[in-house]
């Protein structure tokens, strides 16, 4: 008789242990779980989709190269996103410029089960929200997007954007309040 135990998705810690032992499928799974967050963190800093994709890839390579030294003090995701943020800042410094419009238009929108009119309305609303996000001061915008898009804690956000946990919390709440006012 066939076993009918429910399958359980292994936690990141277990995948990291397997990846440290050189198991490629564990690395594939870690990529599947975190590539979207890595891409968005890079995009939030660089405002360039191609550069963000490159940085996300480089960050995974760096993370896996340095995996033997990963002690697990932070989660794999936090560690990876810190690498992404550092890489992105490096690329940004080297390019010496900031693109102004890419975040507003960034990324495909999920649009299954919708007719053309609904898709258009949704697209317009999304563009509006992204424009409003762009109007927030840098630290407020980053605190809001890291909190909402990635569900990072204030401590993790502080570590990523170079501020304290308390400052990240204040920036987040100020940003949300401004967005509420602007969204009306």
């Amino acid at each position: 008789m066939k076993d009918t135990f429910p399958t359980r998705a292994p936690p990141d810690e277990e995948l990291v242990r397997l990846a440290q032992a050189g198991e490629p499928t564990a690395m594939d799974e870690l990529v599947s779980r975190h590539y979207a967050g890595a891409y968005r963190v890079a995009l939030g800093i660089l405002r360039d989709e191609e550069e963000a994709a490159d940085v996300a890839q480089d960050a995974f390579l760096k993370a896996f190269r340095g995996l033997q030294g990963f002690r697990g003090d932070a989660s794999f995701r936090t560690w990876l996103l810190a690498i992404v943020a550092n890489e992105s800042r490096g690329v940004f410094r080297r390019s010496g410029r900031r693109k102004e419009t890419s975040l507003e238009a960034a990324g495909p929108l999920a649009s299954d089960d919708e007719d053309a009119e609904q898709r258009l309305e949704k697209r317009e609303e999304v563009a509006r929200v992204r424009r409003l996000l762009e109007r927030l001061p840098e630290k407020q915008r980053q605190s809001v997007t890291l909190r909402i898009f990635e569900a990072l804690s204030f401590r993790e956000i502080g570590a990523l954007i170079g501020s304290t946990e308390g400052a990240a919390r204040v920036n987040y709440h100020h940003g949300i309040r401004r967005l509420r006012e602007m969204l009306g």
């Binding site: 891409y39 995974f60 390579l61 990324g107 999920a110 999304v126 929200v129 909402i148 898009f149």
Partner: protein, 170 residues
Amino acid sequence: MNRLPCEAVRDVLPEWKAGLLRPEEAESVEVHLAGCGECREEMGVLEALLLARPEPPEGLEARIQAGVRHELLRGARREGEGRVLTIPRGRRWIPTWALSAAAVVLLALGARMILGPDLPDGTQDPLLVAVQEPLPEKWLWADGMVAGAPVFDDLSDEELEALVKALEGG
């Protein structure tokens, strides 16, 4: 009863929305939201933001996975460099056993030239001594030379064996 303060609820709305709260915490948030218009309004902002969340380009996941695997293969190749050496100029791979064998042959040739072909009775042939004690890898130079002489990297196993036999035979 709506026990949680608004500040505490707003702090955890992203986790609630992502389904990361424990069931009893989630229930407390839901009870609060049902009775608090201000917090529901903030929830509306979060939902609008989530809708505007940028998604990665199609194919990025597979591209990163392929890049990681490629890097792993390169790493494995680098680890194998103790066993397989490259000669940059010719871009050819030479197994270290071939370099070691060539080194043995050259050393033996040198020994024969110094000691002469006719050894006194009871004296071990230096070629045999050399064959029994292979040279350490530090004798090998990265430029494909062994002790100043070019290595015989074109020789097959059989050809090398024949060369050693020929040298043994004088």
